[in-house]
Point group: D2
Chain length 115, copies 4
């Protein structure tokens, strides 16, 4: 599967550089949050109603894809280091969210979903 082979490549990348010593889960959580902050920065002056169109502008799109790549790498490194399965964690959370936000109550209401 594509994600598994990507994780293999990330492991080789880290191992060749002897970076495992820096990649404890605390530091990887910091990496993830700082990369998420860079992604956030791309949108900070874009009003909501322009955010979809902005994301399609070629230059902006490249920067956004770039930041998404950084966030994804940080997340995969953290999952690999902790042995937490990314997809299983997301599936479990989705199952919980289905219970926390029943359709009949949550429909069309944004009150703190996924919180």
């Amino acid at each position: 599967m594509a994600l598994a082979s990507l994780v293999e490549e990330l492991r080789a990348f880290v191992s060749e550089r002897d970076w495992g010593q820096f990649h404890d889960p605390k530091n990887l959580a910091m990496l993830l949050a700082s990369e998420a902050g860079e992604l956030l920065a791309e949108y900070r002056w874009i009003p909501n109603h322009r955010a979809d169109a902005f994301s399609r502008e070629p230059e902006a799109r490249q920067r956004i894809a770039n930041e998404i790549g950084d966030v994804a790498i940080a997340l995969l490194l953290l999952c690999d280091r902790t042995g937490i399965d990314l997809e299983a964690a997301a599936q479990e959370k989705l199952a919980r969210n289905r219970q926390r936000y029943p359709v009949e109550l949550a429909k069309g209401r944004a009150a703190r979903p996924l919180g």
Copy 2:
């Protein structure tokens, strides 16, 4: 593939609740950053040398997996909304990082890798 079917489930979850109206890329980038902040909070008082062991303690592990699930969901929603391929974005970034951090220069040195 597992990730693709998860994205399908997320689409259904959002659509049933009519939440697409709130999920423009700006708001999803905010969701992602705030969830990354919650994950960060789990590690803020844990020293580096205890971060691996902490991540294996059952209660902490469950909370961390929970936050990783939130981050993954936010990231997948953002990729789906913008049409940016998560794995391709990570692969491209990894290829760039291989060039930016040649093994002979980067080995054992943490100076702003993946930055």
Copy 3:
């Protein structure tokens, strides 16, 4: 001055609880970022054009003030620990921003200001 006396109170609060051991600058930077993430979460589903009005709604306002308080405390703790003067740092950055964003070029254009 009010800020200086607040810092004094924060020092006493930390010292009484023997929390200085946890408050190295790395951990305080994590605290600051996670609190900034909680503040961010308050606005994630609020569209730009409603953000001012939302900030005046009594319940939202109380939560926002609460999160601003957390961010301010984290920032003051970090400045105190590192010996960096908050106001001087802001003044220096403002002076740099005046040069980086000359009025004639920056007027009405949001392209990465304060970046």
Copy 4:
């Protein structure tokens, strides 16, 4: 008072550039979180036990002060826009934290303080 005069200067800076249109509270919360992410990035590969010494190295110190300046500016802009008093918000939160973390229970224990 120094903070008040700094806020006056920030108002002039924003007004001269006609940037008030971009500075609704949502966008300023994003600015704050992204600047907090940049500050975080400075410490992401520094182990806890070196974080104090690192913060005193001249080059690192200048970068950290720079990022602290950005965070402070974003926080002051947000407080000014929403009319929330920074010091009062911090004082209120400190009063609450005194109750949430009684000395006899919290002493030497880092369990989610200031959370």
